[in-house]
């Protein structure tokens, strides 16, 4: 056995033969290529911009915008900057999205439950509603409602008025505007105090119920707290609130609080459209809860409403919430259709007028896209958190 060759210790495999390292190497390579590709495009764009004498960067945001906006939630004048325009547009978008989400959810739940109703008429009406509104493109619906509103509502001179306090015409809805006077702060503080009291009350009531099984009439107690405490304070401080009532001006109604028709149309159209989808989600959620659960609840002696509140809806929510999230995202993104009817949202005032005045297309579109991305992510995060809260706790 003299010719026995010495066994070489198994050396480290080469970089290429180690699957783990090879994987990392390839990933690093791909990342570098992607990065280099984008760096190239970015560099080239800047280069070409410079060559063609187009200014770049976000410096333009400090320039004065110089144009007017019909609806502003924060103070804005023509001499304010494009940065301010961005915020004005952003808040207008959020206002339309927020209002839309609230009404779409309420309307959607009602129609979804109605669709499951045993009453033939109610369930058929709900079905017809859903099939009509979710099958027509939302842009058409918006334009249709806008034309309808302008046609149906009278001109300023012939405004419909309710007791000379509230007015409707094709320039919008006009309602009296509350003007707080000195001392009104007390009422606000009283209301906040009442809210805190209600939260505490619910906690106490819950722990008492868990310990002794006794139930408090929490709803009525909360209601009394929220209504009586602030109104008592209001009266005690001498009703410090005035009202500004809309009156006829030369071209338009003056004073009061005004809701522009574009906002009304956008709000109504998006709510109606999205509600049709939410209704289907709610229906599928409720149907996903097996009938055995309802029977078990009846066997335990729960009433019909208790069964719904304590057994069916909590389980249905698990199915509903994730799908609801994507509907909220859709609604938020659909607000950008507002440009079609002159609602001054972000796309209209910033990615529209501002873009055209400054010519900074890439910067402005980038900022606008980032805004929609952040809002969508924020809604997702919130809904995921809510979903975790509502999910079944495995014990």
């Amino acid at each position: 056995m003299a010719d026995q060759t010495p066994q070489t210790a198994p050396g480290k495999p080469s970089l290429w033969n180690d699957p783990k390292k090879r994987g990392m190497l390839i990933q690093a390579l791909v990342l570098t290529i992607i990065f280099a590709f984008f760096a190239y495009i970015f560099h080239n764009t800047l280069n070409n911009y410079a060559q063609r004498g187009i200014s770049t960067g976000f410096g333009f945001l400090n320039n004065s915008a110089g144009f007017g906006i019909a609806q502003t939630l924060i103070p804005y004048t023509e001499s304010d900057t494009y940065w301010r325009v961005f915020w004005v547009g952003l808040l207008n978008t959020l206002l339309a999205a927020g209002l839309g989400i609230i009404t779409a959810t309420i309307l959607g739940f009602i129609i979804g439950v109605a669709r499951l109703s045993k009453n033939w008429l109610v369930s058929t009406l709900a079905t017809v509603y859903i099939e009509i509104f979710r099958n027509i493109p939302v842009l058409l619906q918006i334009i249709f409602f806008y034309s309808l509103l302008l046609k149906v509502l009278p001109s300023v001179k012939n405004s419909i008025s309710i007791g000379d306090l509230v007015f409707f015409n094709n320039r919008g809805a006009f309602i009296p505007q509350p003007l707080p006077e000195a001392g009104f702060n007390w009422t606000i503080w009283a209301f906040l105090l009442a809210v805190i009291a209600v939260i505490a009350l619910r906690k106490i009531a819950k722990s008492i119920q868990e310990q002794t099984g006794k139930q408090w009439p929490v709803f009525w107690m909360s209601f009394a707290l929220l209504v009586l405490v602030p109104s008592a304070t209001f009266l005690m401080t001498g009703s410090p609130l005035g009202w500004e009532i809309p009156e006829q001006g030369k071209f338009n109604l003056k004073g009061g609080l005004r809701i522009i028709p574009e906002l009304i149309v956008l709000w109504v159209a998006l709510s109606i459209y999205t509600a049709a989808f939410i209704a289907e989600i709610v229906r599928s959620g409720i149907q996903s809860v097996s009938h055995g659960q309802t029977e078990a609840a009846s066997a335990l002696g729960l009433s019909h409403s208790q069964t719904l509140k304590l057994v069916v809806i909590p389980q249905a929510m698990r199915v509903i919430i994730p799908q609801l999230t994507s509907q909220y995202l859709n609604l938020t993104k659909n607000t950008s259709l507002a440009t079609a009817i002159a609602y001054p949202d972000l796309v209209s005032v910033f990615a529209g007028t501002s873009l055209n005045q400054t010519g900074q297309a890439i910067e402005i579109i980038f900022m606008t896209m980032m805004f929609y991305l952040s809002v969508s992510l924020a809604i997702s995060i919130f809904m995921n958190w809510y979903n975790d809260k509502m999910a079944l706790v495995e014990r």
Partner: protein, 340 residues
């Protein structure tokens, strides 16, 4: 609109990609000759300036200018392809190389000429922003508190706001994206007054259900010199476009029309001879074109006056008076440097 946002985003993306290409591309003239046609950016529908007729052919003052450049380059007015653009898309389309020439009632301003990578070649229509009302108002000074319909994506918003601020009047701006919506808003009474360039107001008025009820107010609140523009940095192409415009105006000055230019070929008038390229030394070589470039423009498109009257003037439904757009010798300010 979402589609609009997508379109704009798409245009931006295209711009990014195309810019990385066109950095290596040669001159516009070579590229145009190679592909055999001029890609011309026009408005999607302003009667008189650029609109499609019932046969689907584009006509109008701006369209005529596209044809004039094609006549100068190819001697053939059919060698144009049109891209109809919204106000928002137009500059990106030009910057990115999607079009070779922008002839879309665009106002020549300082910012546009200096910051946006384009060069204006001249003015083919002197316009100004005005107001149209249908409620008996006689002067723009009476418009305090009015709601104003605006078509978005122009210098209009800025001029409007400047005018109302300067006269310390209040207004409510209602900014629409599309002409059709703007007209509807005005007709249905969403606003008291519609503002745009006066030339556009005249053509919008024709689209109203009751054109006679609406009047264009006398006030002109801005200078709007409308003209064709090209990408910055291509001097040869820029000069072709500039001189095509000059040739149209100069032809009117010399009394050359599409009808009489063939007779005038025999003329002994040296300025006419220079114009049609019969005189040695003043041909098309400076523009890298054939000697009869100016002759082709007038022969196939006509002079500026012919184009004006045919599209927006007395031979058109718009019936806009020449006004500022008359020749310098006839009380207007249309003036071209001599061709010599």
């Amino acid at each position: 609109m979402k589609t609009k946002l997508l379109a704009t985003a798409g245009a931006v993306m295209t711009a990014v990609v195309l810019m990385s290409n066109s950095a290596f591309a040669g001159s516009t003239l070579d590229a145009v000759k190679k592909k055999g046609f001029i890609q011309c950016g026009i408005n999607s529908g302003v009667p008189g300036f650029s609109s499609a007729n019932d046969k689907g052919e584009w006509t109008g003052l701006d369209v005529d200018f596209c044809k004039a450049v094609a006549a100068a380059v190819f001697g053939d007015t059919t060698k144009v392809k049109y891209t109809s653009l919204t106000a928002k898309e137009r500059f990106t389309a030009l910057q990115s190389g999607e079009i070779d020439l922008l002839s879309r009632n665009t106002t020549w301003t300082f910012t546009r000429d200096t910051n946006q990578g384009l060069s204006f070649a001249g003015v083919n229509y002197y316009d100004g922003q005005g107001f149209m009302v249908n409620n008996g108002v006689k002067s723009a000074k009476e418009l305090d508190g009015a709601s104003v319909c605006i078509q978005s994506g122009t210098t209009t918003e800025l001029n409007l706001s400047d005018y109302f601020r300067a006269n310390s009047m209040k207004y409510e701006p209602i900014t629409y994206d599309k002409v059709e919506e703007t007209i509807k808003g005005f007709e249905e009474g969403r606003c008291d007054v519609l503002t745009s360039d006066q030339s556009q107001l005249y053509s919008l008025r024709l689209q109203l259900k009751e054109p006679d009820k609406a009047i264009v107010l006398p006030e002109v609140i801005s200078k709007e010199p409308l003209g064709p523009s090209v990408r910055q940095g291509d001097e040869d192409w820029f000069k072709i476009v500039r001189w095509s415009l000059n040739a149209m105006i100069e032809a009117e000055d010399l009394g050359l029309t599409s009808a009489n230019i063939d007779e005038k070929k025999a003329s002994a008038d040296p300025s006419v001879k220079r114009f049609i390229g019969a005189e040695e030394g003043v041909g098309g070589q400076g523009l890298k074109l054939s000697n009869d470039w100016a002759y082709q423009i007038v022969k196939q498109v006509g002079n500026y006056g012919e184009s004006f009257e045919r599209n927006v003037g007395k031979d058109s439904p718009l019936k806009i008076a020449r006004g500022l757009n008359a020749l310098w010798s006839k009380g207007g300010i249309m003036y071209a440097p001599p061709i010599r």
